[in-house]
Amino acid sequence: MTRPLPDASLGSEWTILELLARGIVDEPERQMVRDLLLTDTLNWGELLEQALRHKMVPMLAYNIISADLRFDIPTSIYQHLESALEWNRWQMEVFRRETVRVAQRLATRGIHFVVTKGIAFESTLYGGLGTRCMNDIDFMIAPRDREAVLSMMQELGFRPYFDWAKDPRREEISSRLNPDHLPKLMREIDRPGTRIINVDVANSLTWTKSPFDVPVEEALEDIVEQAVPGMPGVYLPCFRPIYQFLFTVLHLFREAWLQKFVDFGNDVSLMKFGDVIRLIDRDCDKLTDSELRRIMETHDITRPVAWVLRNLDDTFHTHTLKLLALEQRGEEGLLASQMQSSGYVRASGQSMRQRLQSKTRDSSRPVSPTRSGS
């Protein structure tokens, strides 16, 4: 697929990351990344900081190493990137083994579940190269299984914890009142490089009392399995492509609109948009089928899905709205009228591209330039 090259108005450093986030698909893109990396004026501090913010350091490292730029960039930076990539690969290996351990126990107990996000994407969308960052292991279960899974996880050595939050008690109360996830779970493993493992178990595709949702039971009805790299004969259950797409897009929508993610510095990122682009690239034939449209209409989720895709297209010069025939959907005004709680991000004049680049996410949700107020 050929896509327009991004304009470099936000700087070489940002352009490199935008290109890497959407995935290098042809020689002109590869050459543009290479040329930008070799620019005399490239600000490595800025590039590394933004790569860190967007969880793209291993991906940047992989591209520099595979482009054979060892003697073209500062040695200390090259060595650090090499270590970062190796460490991420190690972390991934630890996560894979732990995922399988938990998954086998869930299966033994007859719990219907899938793995989502990083652990589902790293070996498929990202080719198992160790370039996709993960902070935790994500599972999705049905709400009816919450208590059974919490109890089972405790048997496996995990315990709920809230200390990751700035205000742990606030997080604990919020977690009880908004049961779209189990409390965050952690287990100390004390292995070199990886002291603890965090597991996040969701039981909603969006959030408690969201005006938009897809029943988890429906999404779990017909699932697929994917192989685990380095573990022959071991498979993990995942959403089938349509629900994988819907979950990933709605998740991004959630993180773009809920203020708590902005407060925690964990809202939208290049990597999360990159997941959506890769999913559409991989599953294009299944996503352009009428089934996706039918599911979106049944659950009245077309607007949030189109909102995400509009922002994606505006930012990355993709054409996903057209591909999925959603050009006329995703109106900002209608969405905003459904999202009036104090917990939702307020609109600002920023574009999504500016919001992504901004290092102070104190502001708010961008208004899509092509549809604002409609």
Partner: protein, 84 residues
């Protein structure tokens, strides 16, 4: 046990759409006064700090704060438990 009404109402006024002179209708659903999932967390936290109490897990449910009356009863119960 002391009457907690004044402090209790001050907490509610800090977080809900209440104008000072208006008396709080204790039977009205707090959702009608602007309580949503985010403000509910803030109200409960503020109640804990103001009255030096801690809501146990089984009280962290919507029923506890459906109305001002229910919430006040919950706060009073926890204060009594603490005092005894």
């Amino acid at each position: 046990m002391d009457d907690i009404s004044i402090q209790f109402e001050e907490v509610l006024r800090r977080h809900l759409r209440l104008t000072k002179p208006n008396a709080i209708n204790y039977d009205m659903e707090l959702a009608q006064l602007g309580l949503d999932s985010m403000t509910a967390v803030a109200v409960l936290l503020d109640m804990e700090k103001t009255f030096n109490i801690r809501f146990p897990d089984d009280m962290l449910v919507e029923g506890t704060f459906r109305t001002a009356q229910r919430l006040k009863e919950a706060v009073q119960l926890l204060r009594e438990r603490q005092a005894s």
